[in-house]
Amino acid sequence: MEELLRQYMNLYYIQVLTLICIMMIAALGLHLITGVTGQLSFGHAAFVGIGAYAAALSNIHWGLPFLICVLLGGLAAALAGVLVGFPSMRLTGDYLGIATLGFAEIVRVILMNMDITGGARGLAGIPRETTLVLAFVLAAVAIWTMYRIQDSRFGRALVAIREDDIAAECNGINGLWYKVSAFAIGSFFAGVAGGLYAHFLQYLNPSGFGFAKSFEILTFVVLGGLGSIPGTVLGTTILTLLPEVLRFSAEYRMMMYGLLMVIMMIFRPRGLLGGVDLLPLLKRMLYSLRKKQTPLNGDGNGRSV
């Protein structure tokens, strides 16, 4: 399948699309933490980094099968997520965000100073295992899983905490347990994305997982529409493509990127798909299409009366 793709598709597009799928998995993790549970995290890239290094090292040193390595990366990140989840008992809002930012910077500095990670020289020699097909399948699985989580009792508890955690506690929801679980699951997603990223780039450097990356992932989630899965998917896709599409503007590329971020935010303060429920919109579109073929009693706007 991958061979077929590589024959008929521009390798550059494959490269960019694979990256989009990987980042999407990471962004969905943050979507669960920040979008669904309402816990601000400014340090998501650290979980991606932990997953990436764990997966790469277990492949290089233990020679484990690739998918096991990715799973291990996810679990390592989940463990770190539990660690970060506990302060969420005491810290709320921006303060939690700042604490996660601090955590992420500490992780980066530790990765920079460890021998096994290669420190500033980075970790090279990771085999290329991640393919577009695999990344795409895993991204689809991640999206499906996220929908399952949100539609479950567990997911509704998380939303309850986001809306009002005191009211949620009063209704018998154990806030700490749910918050820590959200951090663990969200970090697991990030770790899996990290494992794929490591076997996609074949080289890791701690500086690639700094706060700039964390804010980039946060921007994916917020700009797409906080709390919306289609929003996260769209946000990741657009913002990963943007630097590539803007290449024509040469040295003004990143300037335009920054400017577009501001403009998109001003015109869609709740995110591109924030507050848009796709399903009725889709139904209405289908309905008006059908109406054109067989006239029905409508109010002319596609709404039935």
Partner: protein, 389 residues
């Protein structure tokens, strides 16, 4: 029902994205392949690594201009530099490399740093395109594969020679070693200096660490200011080197600094001013009229004319040489097919460039001779010693 509908929506969005991506890159009309030879520039024009990338690109463009002015390549074809910015980001470096390969570049010059070279290396190797790093000095670069080259003076050659010179000619016995820990070049060079200094009985009485883009070194300098030592070995880049020496003078110390070609740029004295007078740098590239070859002099003059009188640094010189090395290999092979000219590149020997004489050894590593030890005098580098291999 509802879920599956939304799921199919998602997949739809992904495909729309795929088409979007297709449009984004698809509107470049490729020039007729038989009239041009394309060499890619991989490096940063924005972000933390921009100062190295921009200089490399300047050197590459000068080389391309020279080649085209002299009638082009392979009997009249135009040499084109395809430039892309990776913004100092790992993932974009991979995308950019892939993009340049799909645009038909036969060789890529860059990235001046080891880290990004290690990202681009496997991609270039897999696609069968020659990658010539104009600056990577770390381990494990040419080991990626037989399409990967570099044109820099290797520190494993230079550092021990300099350590020997410090001990035998200058009589140094005790030094302070300063490393920039988030700079792979610095970490690697410090390791080499530790061995080289020990082999020449020079004791490292204190080690300090800084980070690239730090501006304040007062704490580091204070902590060795009351010790007795002969000089400072600093393994990082020119920016931090200049600022470090400024702080050393501010705290009343009169020691000089020794370092690798990471210090080789006018920025060193633009930032360090009087404080870097007497500091020493070893390099394979000497911008000193008294010692430079005519080729080097011509490059320096051309660069100065184009850049308002500023002197070139090692990145621009290495970028220039990288393109010229590739051009000569292509001419020698009579073909711009990477698989063919990589063979002629491999046997390059005693090739004279603006950064000195380059040969590729059996392991495809560059051998550059001689090693110059430069000293800053009146805000200019002058040759203090020429050490032959």
């Amino acid at each position: 029902m509802r879920r599956s509908k939304l799921l199919s929506m998602m997949i739809l969005v992904l495909f729309v994205a795929a088409i979007f991506a297709g449009c984004g890159g698809g509107n470049q009309t490729p020039a007729p392949a038989d009239e041009t030879v394309k060499i890619g520039f991989l490096g940063a024009k924005t972000g933390g690594h921009a100062s190295y990338g921009i200089e490399t690109l300047k050197g590459m463009k000068m080389a391309a201009d020279d080649v085209n002015a002299a009638g082009g390549i392979l009997g009249g074809k135009k040499l084109v530099i395809v430039e892309e910015d990776h913004g100092s980001k790992d993932d974009q470096a991979a995308s950019v490399t892939q993009k340049m390969i799909t645009q038909g570049t036969v060789a890529i010059v860059g990235d001046p740093t080891t880290g990004f070279t290690k990202i681009a290396g496997p991609i270039a190797q897999g696609a069968g395109v020659v990658l010539m790093s104009a600056g990577a000095v770390g381990e494990g670069v040419v080991e990626i594969g037989d399409f990967i080259y570099r044109d820099t003076l290797l520190d494993k050659v230079g550092a021990p020679l300099v350590a020997k010179y410090l001990a035998s000619e200058l009589g140094w016995k005790k030094v302070v070693l300063v490393t920039s820990t988030n700079n792979d070049y610095s970490v690697g060079l410090s390791k080499l200096f530790r061995d080289g200094l020990a082999a020449n009985n020079i004791e490292i009485i204190a080690e300090q660490t800084i980070q690239d883009s730090d501006q304040n070194f007062s704490a580091q300098v204070t902590s060795f200011s009351n010790k007795d030592f002969d000089g400072i070995v600093f393994t990082g880049y020119y920016t931090e080197g200049g600022l470090l020496m400024k702080e050393v003078r501010k705290q009343g110390l009169d020691h000089v600094m020794v370092g690798g070609d990471g210090l080789l740029a006018p920025v060193l004295w633009e930032l360090g001013e009087d404080a870097v007078e007497g500091s020493m740098v070893y390099t394979g590239f000497a911008a000193d009229p008294a010692n430079a070859s005519p080729k080097t002099l011509a490059f320096i003059d051309a660069y100065k004319a184009k850049n308002g009188g500023t002197l070139p640094d090692m990145f621009s010189a290495q970028g220039y040489d990288a393109v010229m090395l590739l051009v000569d290999a292509i001419e020698a092979a009579g073909s711009a097919a990477p698989a063919e000219f990589k063979e002629t590149l491999k046997v390059t020997s005693n090739w004279e460039g603006v950064t000195g004489t380059i040969s590729f050894g059996p392991d495809r590593e560059p051998i550059k001779s001689p090693v110059y030890l430069l000293e800053v005098k009146d805000s200019e580098f002058s040759v203090k010693a020429t050490i032959d291999l």
